[in-house]
């Protein structure tokens, strides 16, 4: 499973988001390949799941990918409640 996280520069917030999600995946025994990137790059890749802040997510257009908008990017509970169910579902496929 390939997931991407996206922010304006593709190296600050998105990297933190990716590390949170990777830690979450590891805890649940899910293996994933992840990359943090900026918006222009993100719209040219293929992946199973893309996670970004609400404003950035509205500009994402990746065919075939689940896109999860996060309202508060530093709220780990929100990230987990939105992302983990999707990770588990993708993992079971």
């Amino acid at each position: 499973m390939k997931i991407i996280t996206v922010c304006g520069m593709g190296m600050g917030t998105s990297l933190m988001l990716l590390m949170d999600i990777q830690a979450m995946a590891k805890k649940n025994g899910i293996v994933l390949e992840g990359e943090a990137m900026d918006l222009s790059t993100a719209n040219g890749v293929s992946c199973d799941l893309a996670v970004a802040s609400k404003e950035i997510a509205g500009n994402l257009n990746i065919p075939g990918a689940v896109i999860i908008p996060i309202t508060n990017i530093i709220d780990k509970k929100e990230i987990e409640s939105k992302v983990l169910p999707v990770l588990l579902e993708l993992n079971s496929k």
């Binding site: 190296m11 790059t41 802040s53 530093i74």
Partner: protein
Amino acid sequence: MLDFIVQILSNPAITLGLIAGIGLVALKKSGSDVIKGMLKTIFGFLILNAGSGVIVNALIPFSTMFTAAFSLSGVVAEDNALVAAVQSVLGLETALIMVGAFLVNILLARVTKWKYIFLTGHMMFSFAGTMAIVLAQMGLRGWAAIVPGALIQGVSMVLFPAIAQPFVRKVTGNDNVAFGFWGSLPIVLSGYIGGKFGDKSKSTEDIHVPKSVDFLRDMSILMGLIMLIVFTVTAIFVPAEVRDSISAGQNIFVFSAIQAFTFAAGILILLQGVRMFLGEIVPAFKGIAEKIVPGAIPALDVPIFYSFAPVAVTVGFLAALVGGLAVTFLSAFLPVVVLPSVIGLFFMGGAAGVFGNTYGGRRGAILSGLILGFSFSLIVALAYPLVDLSSYGISGLWFASTDAIIVVVIMRLFGMLFGLG
């Protein structure tokens, strides 16, 4: 043989690769992960160099055009491009200052009550490069630069988040995260001051912003457009008789449009490189810090605040652009013309909008953005004479991060007192 080893170790790409490798080994990653991480770090660093070459080459003809048009020099404030451009000379110092600063940061977080761990990688890199440049100007190279550079940066990595925290708490409502960004001081101060003149009950978030401005979230588009405008306006004022010699016979407007887009493309290449090497180093830093400092508070990049008031981000950025442009027009009277520096104005202006909205609603957000944009550009213009970059073959670029510039000014004044540089 010794020479061979020294040459390998003094190559910044290899040094950074080894640092990433040591970090990944310390985190007990698998052999393949360590090799992958080291190689990606090295590739990232080399891509960064390539991007900086593209940027510098686009800015050289632009600087010529600007001087021919206005008889003044103009600069874009962009740290990453600037620091990348000096890596062939100061690469080793930069890499080791960055790692040393990280160790100083961990030590301070471990023994003092300020538990902040600065995790914004590109900011660590640009600050380390800034230290290397400034110390070199004061006549210090090698270890004589690495040790003080790492100490100053390590202290800054705890001090600036600590100063910003009371304001941050007001926005986020808790102490779970801190502000790890070298524009924190002007952002929180603009927000606080701007907010004094506003009304907290009238939030920016009640304003309806049309969906069509959403494309502004895409940095590359925004930067391409602004640079196109800046380059085209400059081209209009280039005297007819020198046009051909600058553009080598090409139509000056076609030429300047291509140079503007080349500049933006160079930034994209550069950022891809930064992203690749930080993608390996930052997780290693974070893992190590969490093991050594219990209760560490991560100091994070500026967009963490955007979700608290997304509309204020747009409002703050547009106001900051106006403030920055005001300085551009005023700066015919200043040491250098500071051109609208989109990345800085966007990220800092947006955050100033959020803080301004917290303290004083709509009016607070607009005023904060204006103050931020104005002070951001003004500080660049005023501090410009303190660091001369022409010896590195760089024209048209200067430092952007206000916090780092404040530290640089203090260092230069301190240096003058003790007869350095």
